[in-house]
C-alpha cells in the first residue's frame, strides 16, 4: 500500500507548485479594487474615501452596468493645491523670484526697472501691483531664451536647493500623501493618470515621474512657444518669449482634448481654475467622479477658499454642491497630509 503515500506526496508537491505558480500569475495581473483599498491608508474612513472606493468598484466591475474598459479609465489631476502645496505662493512663482535674483548680476538695469526692482527688493506690494503684465514679463525673462534641455536643467537644479519657507523642505517633498496614494490606487485599478495644470508643462516634467509616477507624456500644462533649430549640427528646441497655451479654466478641457483625445472619467482639483475640467469630465453621462480638495487645515497645512490670492475656491465650491462632486475636508478626511509628518 505504498501507492497512496506516494500519490499523496506528489499531489502535495503538485498542489503547492500550482499555488506558487498561480500566485506568480496573480502578481502579474492588476488586482481587484477591493484588494487595493489598503493603499488609501492616509484617508480617514468617511464619505470622501467611500465615494472614491465606490466609484472605482463600479467602473471596474466587469459585467456591471457602470463598467468602463481600462483604456477609457482616464483620470486627470490639477497640480497646484491638489497634488502639492500652493501656499504661501505658487511654487513656480517662487522659482521666478529666485531666478530673477540669480540672473540680476547680468542685468544691472533691473535695479531701476519694475517689476524687477520690486523682486530684488522683496517688495511684494509693488510686485502684485504690476499685475498680469508684470508677471508675464517676469515669466518670459525666466522661462524663455534657452533650449528645452537647458530649461529642464535649470528647474532641476533649483528644486534641488530651494526650500519651502514654512516646512523647510524641498518642494517635491511638500506633496500630499493621500493624493499620492490615490494616484497609486487608481493606477492599480487600470487607470491612466494625467496631470492637467495651469502651471508650466516644462516646469513639471523634470520631476513628475519621480514624485508622482506620472511620465512626461502624461503631463498637460501651460506652455510658451518653441522653435526647432540645428545648432552646430545638433537639433535643439529654443524657448521663445511668447505664450503658446494657458491650461487654466476653459483651457483645461481644451488641453485634455488636445493631449489625451478622450474625456476623463475622474477629475481632481481644488480651485475655480478646475471648474471647467470637472464639468468636462463629469457631466457627459455615465458614472463619473469629480473631487475637490478643500484646504481646511491651517495647523497641518493652510486654510483658505473663497478669498485666497492663490487657489481661490468659490464658484467651483458652489458647483461641487450642485453636481454632487466629492469635497475633501482636509482636516477630517486626511489622517496625514505630508509623508514627513
Amino acid at each position: 500500500m505504498t501507492t497512496p503515500v506516494s500519490f499523496e506526496f506528489n499531489r502535495r508537491v503538485l498542489l503547492s507548485t500550482l499555488a506558487l505558480l498561480l500566485a506568480l500569475i496573480g502578481s502579474l495581473r492588476p488586482k481587484s479594487a477591493v484588494a487595493q483599498t489598503d493603499i488609501l491608508q492616509s484617508w480617514s474612513d468617511g464619505p470622501a474615501k467611500t465615494s472614491i472606493i465606490d466609484f472605482v468598484a463600479r467602473v471596474t466591475t466587469q459585467g456591471g452596468p457602470d463598467f468602463v474598459p481600462a483604456e477609457q479609465r482616464i483620470a486627470v489631476f490639477d497640480n497646484d493645491g491638489t497634488l502639492w502645496c500652493e501656499q504661501p505662493m505658487y511654487v513656480q512663482l517662487a522659482f521666478i523670484l529666485d531666478r530673477v535674483k540669480a540672473m540680476a548680476p547680468l542685468h544691472p538695469e533691473w535695479k531701476d526697472k519694475q517689476p524687477f526692482k520690486a523682486v530684488l527688493e522683496d517688495d511684494m506690494k509693488t510686485l502684485s501691483e504690476s499685475g498680469e503684465r508684470g508677471m508675464l514679463e517676469l515669466g518670459m525673462v525666466t522661462h524663455a531664451g534657452m533650449t528645452t534641455d537647458e530649461f529642464a536643467k535649470i528647474v532641476s537644479d533649483w528644486l534641488a536647493t530651494a526650500r519651502h519657507p514654512r516646512f523647510k523642505r524641498p518642494y517635491t517633498g511638500i506633496v500630499y500623501q493621500p493624493m499620492l496614494e490615490l494616484l497609486g490606487y487608481l493606477r492599480a485599478n487600470g487607470f491612466k493618470t494625467f496631470i492637467v495644470s495651469g502651471g508650466g508643462i516644462e516646469f513639471m516634467r523634470p520631476w513628475s515621474e519621480r514624485v508622482y509616477g506620472v511620465p512626461p507624456e502624461q503631463v498637460v500644462g501651460s506652455s510658451i512657444k518653441t522653435r526647432f533649430e540645428m545648432r552646430d549640427g545638433r537639433p535643439t528646441l529654443f524657448r521663445l518669449p511668447e505664450v503658446n497655451f494657458i491650461d487654466d479654466k476653459g483651457g483645461k478641457p481644451v488641453g485634455i482634448n488636445e493631449h489625451i483625445g478622450r474625456r476623463a472619467i475622474a477629475a481632481f482639483g481644488n480651485s475655480d481654475g478646475d471648474l471647467e475640467m470637472l464639468q468636462w469630465a463629469t457631466l457627459s453621462g455615465g458614472v463619473r467622479l469629480g473631487l475637490i480638495v478643500h484646504h481646511t487645515d491651517a495647523e497641518r497645512e493652510y486654510a483658505y477658499d473663497r478669498q485666497s490670492h492663490f487657489g481661490k475656491l468659490d464658484t467651483a465650491l458652489d458647483a461641487a454642491a450642485l453636481n454632487k462632486w466629492t469635497v475633501v475636508d482636509m482636516k477630517s478626511d486626511w489622517r496625514r497630509v505630508f509623508a514627513f509628518e
Copy 2:
C-alpha cells in the same frame, strides 16, 4: 514496485502542469527581441530589416552599452505615406472634397464661388491654383463649426463609406502591412508608439487605435482651435475656424516635445516634412534609428519621390544618406505591401 509507476505518473502530471503554467506566465510577459522577429514576416531579409532588428536588440539588451530603459523607448511614426497610402492625394484631402460636395445643398452660393466651384465641378486644375489659401478655406469650412464629438462622428461615417479610387477599399484598409508589423514588433519590445503627422489630430484619433493599435493620447497632429462651452447643461468643445498648430517640418519636433516631453529614439517617415523629426530623434547621441519609406513600387502601390505633389521626398533623402538613416526600398524590402494582396 508500484511506487515508481505512481511517481512517474505524477511527475508527468506535475511537469505538464508546470509547462502549461509557465506558458501562461510567458504569455503575460513581453517577449525578447530575438523571439519576436517572426512578427516582421512581410519584410524581406535585407539591410532594412537587419537595421531594425539590430537597433532593437542593442537598445533592449540589459547591461549592454546601448541599453535604453523601457520608459524612454519612444518611437514616432509619420502617417501619410508612412503608415497609409497618400496617393493619388492625401486621404484628408479626399475627405475635404467629399464633405464640400455633401454640404453643398446647404450652400447654394458655392456654385459660383471659388474654390468651392472647382470642387463641385471636379476641376482639379483650378482647385490647385487656389493654393494654400484656397485649401485653408476648404479645410476650415469642413473641419470647424461643430463640436469635437460631432466631428469625430463625421470622420467615422465618412471612412465607413469612402473608398480608395484605385484599390476600391476603405482607406483604413490601405495601410502598409510591414509597418503594422513594425508597430507591433516595437511594442512587443517595450516601445511606446506614437503617430506624429501633418494630418489633423482629430481626423486620425477616431480610428488610430483600431487600425494601428495607437490610442488617441499617443496621436500628435495638426489642429484647429477649440472653445469650451456649456450647452444645455452639457460641456462641449466647439471647433473654431482658426489654425492652432501645424505639425509638419520644424513643427514635428515642437509637437513631439509638447505632447510627449521626451525625445524619441526611433523615427519613421517618408517625406521632407519628416526631416526635422528624424533629425530631432537621431542626432542627439546614442544609438538611434531613423527610417524613411521610399515609394519605389508603382505596380503594388506608387513610385514617387523628388517631384511628387504629395509626400515629396528630396532633402530628406539626401539627409538619409548623410545621417545613415535606413531607407526602405518598398519594391525589394517589402514582401507584401497591403494585407489584402
